[in-house]
């Protein structure tokens, strides 16, 4: 262990130890360590192998912004080792390793780097045979792709999501951010202060001046209106100051009236041969290691001081007992600090195989085990860019500069240019031996960027896309400036003109789980949900609703057939509570319906029930139902279950334009409905106590009556989908239990049987009733359905009328027809094609074997010229065999409609 004594290591708790394994070896660290700092304390610098050449890599900045610090922690892939707190018992493994981290068999790829130029994959892997890519090369390349491993056995992760609001959000808990937060709080604002580290302080916390942090934090703690979120990364700044704050497995969405961005700067690597070796650290990286985690970076260091910051770090290293072998300064003639040697020039190369062993400067070799790089910084441009900041470049400081004019967002601290010092720009000529990395994620060297430009990919975005620079996990934080400089140099433009590629969220990784939030799927239950379960129903989801599919257990087709027979021969009851129901009322209610539906409602007498057909503006059938006129100014209207939310919204939409005096309520969830149907239906309803006369004379087909039944207020309608005598009773949902119990009791003497959805579908098909959405599609007109009768010829206007007239003139080549099949014939499946002279002219929309009729029946779109009774149409069944259906011109069951008129 190479820990420095206190006060180094302000973040770690030396009184406790945490045991963990890395690559199977056991290590110890302290609470407060990150995975990477604990490993460094144990002398384990190498964390991973690089993406392409499998070169040894470790942490450089210990700031969570590096490439190559991603490790696998148990089942969790791609964990940032330099950001993630160490936990007891962690089992950590390197990623992208063939064999072991120390002896990675794929490291040999690095030797062939010169054969693998930028974009090489576009130029090869196409032979030798025609499908060589798919069969031979792609599988091999895929096998090498990716970093961490995700297993289906990954344990479930508890995630959390919440929404906060604040007057001011300050991103960045360094001195600038703290000052902004305090100022806002003093002015009476409600402030949220966010920092990605476990404690506030920013860069101050890892300098010798760290003592000042305590006072700042105390002031923040003392301010009543500052909520502090540490360990939290602002991963995105979206429109109207909507912030994504990622806190491990939590996502906090924060709306702030004002946002202060104070996220500081990102240190940049220097470019030289082997600049990627473990042991090459940024100035900030060294400071974090020493001051936060109490880890000495090594015994003997060379400091590259392109930025004056390097001199201060050299002093800090010496103070911590690390020998400073030399300071390398690109500016000639710099004065050497006392007792230190300054070498003028640039670092040409780092020496070493898996760790730094020395550097080459101006032909001289200097032995060291640590190379500290102070090569300048760039402001963390990602969040400002998301907020609309324009990016420029300042030659003097070698930094990008940000110009932000978006109202409600401002920059503070390093982002606003504070603390920028002149930096000697490093040389950009490619090293003859390469390995002078621009992008550590993607293993891109100087020549790769230059060659991309030579190939004509001279726009920055094209450089990025061709070379993949900036596309890896560190998203260009360490490559953007160098890339811009290289492209500027190669194309004769300025660095500012080149800039950076569009900064896209997230600025730091956020988990899919936190984004998704706690699991949610909409589910709705009718009032009788538990009653159906009690009766043994198999419930199935239909949209969000749960509905009884059938009752009982055993042979399902026998159960369904029994339910069908019960309706045909006796009486059944179906819970139709999910049916869309709306009350449309007001002086203009009938005028409103007249505009919305195709039939006439102004002339509809009170007490009558009328079919409703709704078209869209293209004249396509989109919904149907019935309207029961309760009073001059009140209609009770039904809509299909799936369509009622849209119908309700459409009603509001249309009336925003029509401005009729009408009010609509959506009663779907508030009203239950039961359809009592079958030859004995009247026996059931007549046996119910109440004030409605259900006799044939008093209550004819397509009328409605409202009153009390079994003490429950109901709307009763003589309508049905089955073709049998039917009464549909609707009541407030809170009373559904009473009504249902009364119906079951009244039906017992005649064998009333509840039936489910599947029997209902067969019953309706036997009667030839269509289902909108199943027997219609996005272009179906009423004519194609044979519904000309449902379209008023007299009304001057209804939605879709004008389009319908146009379509009528253009004609249609298809019609929905009823087809029957021979009793023993193979039945086509739904969606099987109707062919005419071998060409598809339509398809089967609904099909079933009719238990009542004993043969197959279907609805299908067929060619309009074939739509005559008795014509035969050819259908290709799922089996591929051709089957024949015969067109019938009427309902399959009870063509004269006698039964429903009983």
């Amino acid at each position: 262990m190479s820990r420095l004594p206190p006060p180094y290591g302000s973040r770690i708790d030396r009184s406790r130890s945490l045991a963990f394994t890395f690559e199977g070896r056991r290590f110890e660290g302290h609470p407060g360590d990150t995975i990477a700092s604990a490993l460094a304390a144990n002398g384990q610098w190498m964390l991973s192998r690089s993406f392409k050449y499998h070169r040894p890599r470790g942490a450089m900045s210990f700031a969570g912004t590096d490439a190559n610090t991603l490790v696998q922690v148990g089942p969790e892939p791609n964990v940032a080792a330099d950001l993630t707190p160490l936990e007891d018992g962690m089992e950590i493994a390197a990623q992208n390793v063939n064999g072991s981290l120390a002896r990675d068999r794929d490291a040999v790829i690095g030797r062939f780097a010169r054969f693998l130029p930028v974009g090489f994959y576009y130029r090869t892997f196409m032979g030798p045979t025609k499908d060589a890519w798919l069969k031979l090369w792609e599988p091999r390349i895929r096998a090498k792709a990716g970093l961490g491993v995700i297993g289906a056995d990954a344990p479930d992760i508890a995630v959390d999501k919440a929404t906060w609001h604040a007057d001011v959000a300050v991103i960045g808990g360094g001195p600038a951010g703290i000052a902004a937060a305090l100022e806002a709080a003093r002015a009476g604002s409600d402030v949220v202060l966010i920092d990605d580290q476990p404690a506030l302080g920013g860069h101050l916390a890892y300098t010798p001046e760290a003592g000042a942090v305590g006072e700042l934090v105390a002031e923040v703690d003392g301010a009543a209106d500052i909520r502090v979120l540490t360990d939290t990364i602002c991963t995105g700044l979206f429109e109207d100051n909507w912030l994504a704050l990622a806190r491990r497995d939590r996502l906090i969405r924060l709306r702030a009236a004002e946002v202060v961005l104070a996220t500081g700067c990102i240190e940049q690597p220097a470019i030289f041969h082997q600049n990627d070796l473990p042991g090459v650290l940024t100035a900030g990286g060294v400071r974090r290691l020493m001051h936060l985690y109490g880890v000495a970076p090594g015994r003997r260091a060379v400091v590259y001081a392109a930025d004056p910051e390097g001199y201060r770090v050299a002093e800090e290293l010496r103070a911590a007992g690390v020998e400073v072998a030399a300071i390398v300064d690109p500016a000639p003639g710099a004065a050497a600090p006392e007792g230190m040697r300054v070498v003028a020039g640039h670092i040409a190369a780092a020496r070493g195989v898996s760790h730094v062993t020395g550097v080459e400067v101006g032909g001289e070799g200097i032995a060291c085990d640590t190379l500290v790089v102070a090569a300048g910084e760039v402001p963390a441009w990602q969040l400002p860019a998301q907020a609309g900041a324009k990016l420029g470049y300042d030659d003097a400081t070698g930094r990008f500069v940000l110009d932000l004019e978006t109202p409600g967002v401002r920059l503070a601290g390093g982002l606003a240019g504070e603390g920028a010092t002149p930096v000697g720009a490093p040389p950009m000529a490619p090293h003859p031996k390469g390995k002078d990395f621009i992008d550590f994620d993607e293993d891109l060297q100087v020549k790769d960027i230059l060659n991309a430009v030579k190939e004509g990919y001279s726009e920055l975005e094209l450089v990025k896309r061709f070379s993949t620079v900036g596309m890896g996990p560190s998203q260009g934080r360490h490559s953007a400036l160098a890339t811009a400089r290289l492209v500027a140099g190669a194309t004769g433009r300025s660095v500012g003109e080149i800039g950076v590629t569009t900064a896209r969220p997230p600025t730091a990784p956020e988990t899919l789980g936190a984004l998704a939030g706690p699991h949610h799927v909409a589910e709705r239950r009718t009032a009788l949900h538990r009653e159906h379960l009690r009766l043994g129903a198999e419930m199935r989801p239909v949209g969000a609703w749960w509905r009884p599919y059938l009752y009982g257990s055993g042979d399902r087709s026998a159960l369904i057939e029994a339910e069908v027979r019960a309706v045909r021969d006796g009486v059944g009851v179906l819970d139709v509570s999910t049916l869309g129901t709306l009350e449309v009322r007001g002086p203009d209610a009938s005028a409103f319906l007249d505009r919305l539906y195709t039939m006439a409602h102004a002339t509809q007498p009170v007490g009558k029930v009328r079919y409703c057909l709704m078209l869209n503006e293209m004249g396509t059938v989109i919904d149907d139902g019935v309207a029961y006129r309760l009073a001059e100014d009140r209609f009770y209207v039904t809509a299909t279950t799936g369509a009622v939310p849209r119908v309700y919204a459409d009603m509001a939409f249309w009336n925003a334009q029509w401005r009729l005096d009408v009010d609509v309520v959506n009663l779907t969830a508030g009203f239950a409905g039961f359809n009592i149907t079958g030859p004995f239906a009247r026996d059931v309803v007549a046996a119910l106590d109440g004030d409605i006369d259900f006799s044939a004379e008093a209550f004819p087909y397509l009328t409605g009556r409202s009153g009390q039944v079994a003490g429950v207020p109901v709307h009763a309608m003589r309508i049905g989908f089955t073709g049998e005598l039917s009464f549909e009773l609707h009541c407030p949902a809170s009373r559904a239990g009473d009504l249902w119990a009364a119906i079951l009791a009244a039906g017992e003497p005649v064998g009333l049987k509840p039936y489910g959805l599947e029997a209902s579908r067969i019953l309706r098909l036997e009667k030839g009733h269509i289902l909108i959405g199943q027997d219609t599609d996005a272009l179906t007109s009423p004519e194609e359905l044979g519904f000309g009768w449902a379209v008023s010829k007299k009304k001057p206007f209804f939605v879709g009328k004008r389009a319908l007239e146009m379509r009528r003139r253009l004609g249609s080549t298809r019609k929905l027809a009823a087809l029957t099949f021979a009793p023993d014939a193979e039945l086509p499946g739904e969606s099987c094609l109707v062919l005419r002279s071998g060409a598809p002219v339509g398809h089967v929309t609904s099909v079933a074997h009719s238990p009542t009729l004993g043969h197959g029946i279907a609805l299908a779109f067929i060619h309009a010229e074939d739509a005559e009774e008795g014509r035969r149409v050819a259908i290709r069944a799922r089996s591929g065999r051709m089957v024949e259906g015969t067109v019938v011109g009427h309902a399959f069951y009870d063509p004269q409609n006698e039964r429903q008129m009983l």
């Binding site: 999501k161 919440a162 929404t163 009032a527 005096d661 009663l667 407030p732 009473d738």
Partner: protein, 188 residues
């Protein structure tokens, strides 16, 4: 003969009654059976104006065992402040034939839950994106917004909230609120 609401023993969501909470930090109660009554339409305002103290749109007035909610210029509703709701029933009986005023049926279409306690706001932040800070959402404010994935109405009640929403979704909403309460305990 009685009304059955989802969280009643025989109700659609009765199997989830144990997910209601009566803790010191946070409580979740079902008020769906409490009386309420509302009218919509051109005549609603005139009818209520004679009987109660009418608030502005999206505001509440409270008094005499009633809370009066103005959900729109022509959409007014009264909530009982207790389970008996004595002042609501007479209002409802008095309504019958008022011109151009129509029942809003919300006692049937809406469930009514109450989330209270010192941690109610922290829990509610997990369930709505609406700004719950006192400055934005005062004592007498109504928020017609989204809560627990449902369109609904949010009211302030003491140290918590009343929420009214699609009654058919009660089971899901109770499950989601309970999960948010649990997450408040885990994540704080």
């Amino acid at each position: 003969m009685s009304a059955v609401y989802p969280l009643s023993e025989a109700g659609a969501a009765g199997d989830l009654r144990d997910r209601l909470v009566a803790g010191a930090d946070v409580a979740l109660a079902d008020l769906t059976p409490w009386p309420r009554f509302g009218l919509k339409g051109a005549g609603a305002e005139a009818w209520f104006a004679d009987r109660v103290d009418l608030p502005e749109v999206n505001r509440v007035t409270e008094g005499a065992g009633l809370r009066v909610l103005r959900l729109g210029t022509r959409d007014i509703m009264v909530l009982s402040t207790d389970a008996e709701g004595s002042p609501v029933q007479p209002l409802r009986s008095a309504w019958e034939a008022a011109p151009q005023s129509y029942s809003s049926w919300r006692e049937e279409t809406w469930a009514w839950l109450r989330l209270t306690g010192p941690k109610a706001t922290a829990v509610a932040r997990r369930l709505t994106a609406f700004d719950l800070r006192a400055a934005a959402f005062g004592e007498s404010d109504i928020a017609q917004t989204r809560f627990a994935h449902q369109d609904g109405v949010l009211l302030r009640t003491g140290d918590g909230f009343d929420v009214l929403f699609d009654i058919a979704s009660t089971a899901k909403v109770v499950t989601d609120i309970r999960a948010a309460i649990d997450r408040e305990e885990v994540f704080g």
